[in-house]
């Protein structure tokens, strides 16, 4: 499993509010150990770790062992796909809405 060939859909990975919060926390630091992430949530270390695994499968986080602790860092690249989806439909509807404006304002004349 590597960053270029993630085994999980990025959209699934961000569907959960805990995982979005994890992404946000990781975006605010270079690297955060698991125990520091865990204290931010009202759930156990195992549960947080499971969420991190899902993010890892989507290529959104990278982990490394330092002594006895695991440290996590964000890899925002796969989020591009999400941004592309939003941009595509934003453009689609904005173009249509401008066309509708012409239609409705023609009618007014």
């Amino acid at each position: 499993m590597n960053e270029n060939n993630p085994s999980r859909d990025v959209f699934d990975a961000i569907a959960d509010p805990t995982r979005r919060r994890l992404i946000q926390l990781l975006s605010e630091a270079d690297e955060i150990p698991l125990h520091e992430l865990t204290v931010q949530f009202e759930m156990g270390r195992t549960a947080v770790s499971k969420h991190l695994t899902i993010l890892k499968e989507a290529g959104l986080v990278v982990d490394r062992k330092v002594g006895r602790e695991t440290r996590y860092r964000l890899n925002a690249g796969p989020l591009k796909e999400v941004q592309d989806w939003v941009s595509y439909y934003r453009k689609f509807w904005l173009t249509n809405m401008l066309r509708l404006q012409q239609l409705l304002e023609e009618e007014e004349e």
Binding site: D9, F11, D12, I14, A15, D16, P17, R20, R21, I23, Q24, S27, L74, A76, L79, K80, V82, Q83, W85, V86, Y89, R90, W93, L94, N96, M97, R99, L100, Q101, L103, L104, E105, E107, E108
Partner: protein, 133 residues
């Protein structure tokens, strides 16, 4: 999958004309795409775009909500494997102005739906910043 796009657009028109533009097949053909839409809950329809090498151009939908009194319209929007929901709200702003509010969401399951409602909107603003890093 869990995503949400929201857009607002203001028009100088009446609420009736805006509603008609959203629900009348001939009007929809003029500003969205050719279609066989009818504002009846359960009606299945298609919007047809120009086909290209990746896509047959067909958008399949089903009408989910038609609430004319509250000016709410909702339908599903499926392109290939992707299934979205499109929600429209027409709001009277007074002074001959009307706002069209669009929400398009994409989900694979109910948990996704709840997840998207909770926090996606705020979170999405951060996306650009994250990608710029």
């Amino acid at each position: 999958m869990s995503l949400q796009l929201t857009l607002d657009f203001e028009y100088k028109t009446t609420i009736e004309k805006a509603w008609n533009a959203l629900t009348n097949s001939d009007m929809l053909a003029k500003w969205v795409l050719p279609n066989d839409f009818k504002p009846e809950v359960g009606h299945q329809f298609q919007f047809r775009a120009e086909p290209n090498q990746y896509w047959d151009g067909v958008i399949n939908g089903e009408v989910l909500v038609v609430d004319e009194a509250n000016r709410l319209l909702s339908y599903s929007w499926a392109v290939g494997e992707e299934k979205h929901t499109v929600n429209w709200t027409v709001q009277d702003l007074g002074n001959g102005k009307v706002n069209l509010h669009l929400e398009q969401t994409g989900f694979s399951n109910v948990q996704g739906l709840e997840g998207a409602r909770y926090g996606w909107t705020n979170w999405h603003g951060e996306l650009g910043k994250l990608l710029a890093q």
